[in-house]
Each structure stands twice: as structure tokens, then as C-alpha cells.
Amino acid sequence: MNVRRPLVAAVAILSLVFLYLPSLAVAVFSVNNARYGLLWKGFTWKWYQQLCQNEAILEAAVNSLLVAVISTAAATVLGTALALALDRFPWPRRLTQALDILVHLPVVTPDIIMAAALVLTFSLLRGFADIFDLGLTTLVLGHITFQISFVTLVVRSRLAALSRDIDEAARDLYATGPYLFRRVTLPLLAPGIMAGAMLAFTLSLDDFIISFFTHGPDSVTLPIYIYSSVRRGISPEIHALSTLVLLATVVLVILAERLSRFRAD
């Protein structure tokens, strides 16, 4: 490549710097011993210590995890079933195409429209049952709604990669339904289901817009907590919290990468 290598390299490196510079600044100031202002006043862990004593933050963290775990579990089951149903049955092609559009809808719909639609649904359903009062339940319901599609897409791509031969060979070798599912389909699909679940889990933890619309006063998640604090201005606790969120993301990403490499071996 002689597409002006130095120029390409410069733009690329500056882009990466540009992606990380703000977060680095936050990390630096999260250990700065100054309540106000951004002058370096020496190193300290105290903002991190204060985080651990802040009940609102701890509660938000617990809420985030709770919502992510429950919604991921539900969405993984529903999404995997949906993927199997779409891929492994002789539906007419028209029907499959129509269902495909429905499944792809959350992927291409702007989050904010989904959020508005969910708020509307919950307000209508509230007339029938109290559980649709905005709170942890509605958060979970909302998250499942966008997670299902992603799980279905990931599992389907894995299903598409499994050739029909394998099932035929298993049948040919005397396997009947449940045995075939347990010994062949499930183990071969497991990496896809795992990948789908991880994607759903991360999407849930990361989600802001839909959570912001569907949360109640008692069900604040971490991103919502940070958002409402930020609107009041910058503070060292938020520096520390942001840094922790960033570190958690790094750990998750590296873990996911290790896992996928382990599977490839």
C-alpha cells in the first residue's frame, strides 16, 4: 500500500487518541485530591472509597445487574426458541420473510421510538395490572423486547452455518428427537446461544434511552444515575464511577475475546 502510509497511520492513531483522551482525563482526575476544580492536588483513592458508601450508587449498580441478568435469561430462551422456529420448520417463504422483518425491527428502529412505544404500552396496560407501573418490572420487559431480536439474529446465523447433513446423519444413526436435540443440536448451537446471551447482557447494561423512558423513581440504573448527576455538573465521584464503568467494560471485552478464541480452538 502506498496510499500515503504516513497519512493513513497518522489519521488512524489520532482517531484512537481521540476515542480515549476524554476517558483518560476522567481516570486521571478520579484520583485527584480536589473536591472542586481541575488542578492537580495529589493522589487519592478517597473518591472510590466514597463510592462504596454511596447507597444510591450501590442500589443503581444492583438494579443494573438485576435487570441485565433477568432480562438476558428470558430473552435468551425466547430468542433461541424463535430462531429455532424460524430456521427449522418448513414455513412458506413469504411467512418467513414477514417474520424476518418483525424480528429485524428493533435493530433498525431508533431506540427512542421503541422507548416511546413501550411507555405508551405500559400506560395502557397499567389499567389492567399494577405490575406495569414504571419500575424494575417495566425495565425488564423493555430490555427483553430489544434483546430478543439480537439473540434471535445471532442464534440464527449459527443455525444457518449448521448443515442439514448433520441432522440427517444423526437420524440415520438411530437418533430420535430428544436425543438428537440433547446430543447434537444443543451442543452445536451452544456457542451461538452463549454469544447471543452475552450480547443481550451487554446491551442491557449499556442501555440508556429505553431505561430512561421506562424506569420508575425507585428503579434507577447506573447509566441513569450518572446522567442525572452529570446534569448537575462534574464531580470527582462521577469521575471514579465512570472510570469503574470503563474498566468493567474493558474486562468484559477481554473476557469475551478470550472466550471466543477458546471456542475457536
Binding site: A12, L19, L78, I112, T145, F212, V245
Partner: protein, 308 residues
């Protein structure tokens, strides 16, 4: 004679072999429906029907206390076009137009940065490639609020960027670099660059470099190499990247809310307002539909450009 054929029970339409097993077509149909049912019902109840519900809601009217009056009216759409109580104002049209422009410009800047970035990463040795790719994946998964917050900090008056700007006379000394258009675009581009670069990378990684060499051998100019050899090969990844960048960028409200200020209100902020403080859901619903229309327009523009 032992070889008596078993009685022919209606062969053909009733029975079929599917993945190596004989089924009655009807049984398969029921089993598939049962498997699909819960997920499908979920998407129907919480996604498809509510989206249609927004259409109906957009034809209703806000009551005095934020409640919904189910009277059929096009008021919300008239308001969207600027016809209000006090005559015509272009405010809402401006917001729609600005959303489209911000979405397009953000996408364009991201494309311009993503090509060199992905080419650079794809041409590194394997170990370094993995590491650089991880560097791209981390911001992809970092919460948008956290990342926007980081820009608020970096653009604060006490830090070098704002100080340099003040020294150049662009802003009064002692004030931050936000809210404003520079801050908004910094926030948007840094948010969406990974969204565009990762799908693009999957195409660049599989690029046939010989084709580029061939193009250069035939005395193609740099621009020709790009349009004739690189662009067609990377279009699948580019398309995915553009879609996942453009749609959320146009609907963005976190970045514009924190870094943009009132002047950078986009349709996302307006929708959020209607469902938040203003509590005018019918108008919010009309705005949602306008956003959907803008999304379609943007994608149509992309497709037209793709064809030429």
C-alpha cells in the same frame, strides 16, 4: 409372498421428511408455532402493536393536564409543520432539518475517519491487530453517558483545549468549550466512530489487496483506486456501519442534551421533552413518526448514492 406393500395412506401433502425425519405437515406446523409463539407474541405486544399505537396516538390531543384526549385531529402534524396558536414558526422544521443534517454529517465524518483507521489496523501484524481491534471494541461497549461525560470534563475551562481556544480568542477565557456545535460533533463522532469502524473492518479485513495492486498497475489515480477497487469490496461492511451510525445519531439525545445546549436541540431531545417535562404524548408520537420518516429519507439517500 411376504412382500405386501403397506396400505397407501394418502402419500404426498400430508407427510414430509424434514431434517431426516418423517412428519405430518400439520404436526410440524403446530410444533413450530408453539416454539415461535412466545417470542412472537412478545414482539407483537411490546413492539409491533405499540408502534402502530403511536400512529393512533399521534392523532389524539393533549388535555390540559397532560392526559390524552382520544379525539381524531391532525393538530399535532400541523404543529410539527409550524402552524401553532401564534401563527407559523419554522422552529420544528428547523429541528427536523438539523437532525437530518447532524445525522448525515456525523456519518460522513465517521466514514472519513473509519477508512484510514480500519486500513491501518488491517495492515498491522496479527498480534497488534487484535490489540488495536480490542481498543476499538471497548469504546463500542462503553456507555454513551459515561463517554459524553468524559468530553464534558475534557472541555472544561481549566483544561488545555478550552484554554487554547480562549487564547485564540474563539471563546471568552474561563468558559468551557461546551455547549456548542464543536462539542456536539466531538461527542457524536467519538460515540459513533466504533459503530461505523467495526462493521467496516470486517469488510476491509477480507479485502483482496491484489485488486488494489492491479488498479495501481493500470495507472489508476488514488481516487479511482478508492472508487473502483476499495469501495465496491467494502460496501457490505460500509452499509451496515452507515445504518447503525446514521439511525441512532439522528435520534440522539444524550450527547446533544449534555454537550449541545438549547441551540443544538435535535428531534430526539424534542421527543424526550414531550414524554418528559411537557407531557404531550400525542405530539411526541407525531414526532416519532417524523423521525421514522427522516430515517427512511436518509437511508433512501444512501441507497441512491450507492447506486451511482
Amino acid at each position: 409372498m411376504k412382500m405386501k406393500p403397506a396400505p397407501d395412506e394418502a402419500p404426498g401433502p400430508g407427510l414430509l421428511i424434514w431434517y431426516g425425519n418423517i412428519h405430518r405437515r400439520r404436526d410440524l406446523w403446530w410444533r413450530g408455532s408453539a416454539l415461535m409463539g412466545p417470542g412472537l407474541l412478545w414482539l407483537l405486544v411490546f413492539l409491533a402493536l405499540p408502534t402502530c399505537g403511536l400512529v393512533i396516538l399521534s392523532l389524539a390531543q393533549r388535555g390540559d393536564f397532560g392526559e390524552i384526549h382520544w379525539v381524531w385531529t391532525l393538530n399535532n402534524y400541523q404543529r410539527l409543520l409550524g402552524f401553532g396558536l401564534f401563527g407559523w414558526t419554522p422552529d420544528h422544521i428547523f429541528i427536523l432539518g438539523r437532525s437530518l443534517v447532524v445525522g448525515l454529517v456525523t456519518t460522513l465524518i465517521c466514514v472519513l475517519l473509519a477508512y484510514p483507521l480500519t486500513f491501518y489496523i488491517a495492515t498491522r501484524p496479527p498480534k497488534m491487530r487484535t490489540a488495536l481491534l480490542l481498543l476499538l471494541i471497548v469504546p463500542f461497549w462503553t456507555n454513551v453517558v459515561v463517554r459524553t461525560y468524559a468530553w464534558m470534563l475534557l472541555l472544561s475551562p481549566q483544561l488545555p483545549p478550552a484554554k487554547i481556544a480562549a487564547w485564540l480568542g474563539a471563546i471568552p477565557s474561563g468558559s468551557p468549550l461546551f455547549p456548542g456545535s464543536l462539542a456536539t460533533y466531538l461527542g457524536l463522532v467519538s460515540t459513533f466512530l466504533p459503530f461505523l469502524a467495526l462493521p467496516l473492518y470486517s469488510s476491509v479485513e477480507r479485502l483482496n489487496w491484489e485488486l488494489l495492486e492491479a488498479a495501481r498497475d493500470l495507472y489508476a489515480s488514488r481516487w479511482q483506486v478508492f472508487t473502483q477497487a476499495i469501495l465496491p469490496q467494502t460496501r457490505p461492511g460500509l452499509t451496515v456501519g452507515v445504518i447503525v451510525t446514521f439511525i441512532p445519531a439522528m435520534a440522539m439525545f444524550v450527547v446533544t442534551d449534555l454537550l449541545g445546549g438549547a441551540k443544538y436541540m435535535l428531534i430526539g431531545n424534542l421527543i424526550q421533552n414531550q414524554f418528559g417535562q411537557s407531557r404531550d404524548w400525542p405530539f411526541g408520537a407525531a414526532l416519532c413518526l417524523a423521525l421514522m420518516a427522516l430515517t427512511m429519507i436518509g437511508l433512501r439517500l444512501y441507497r441512491r448514492w450507492g447506486r451511482s
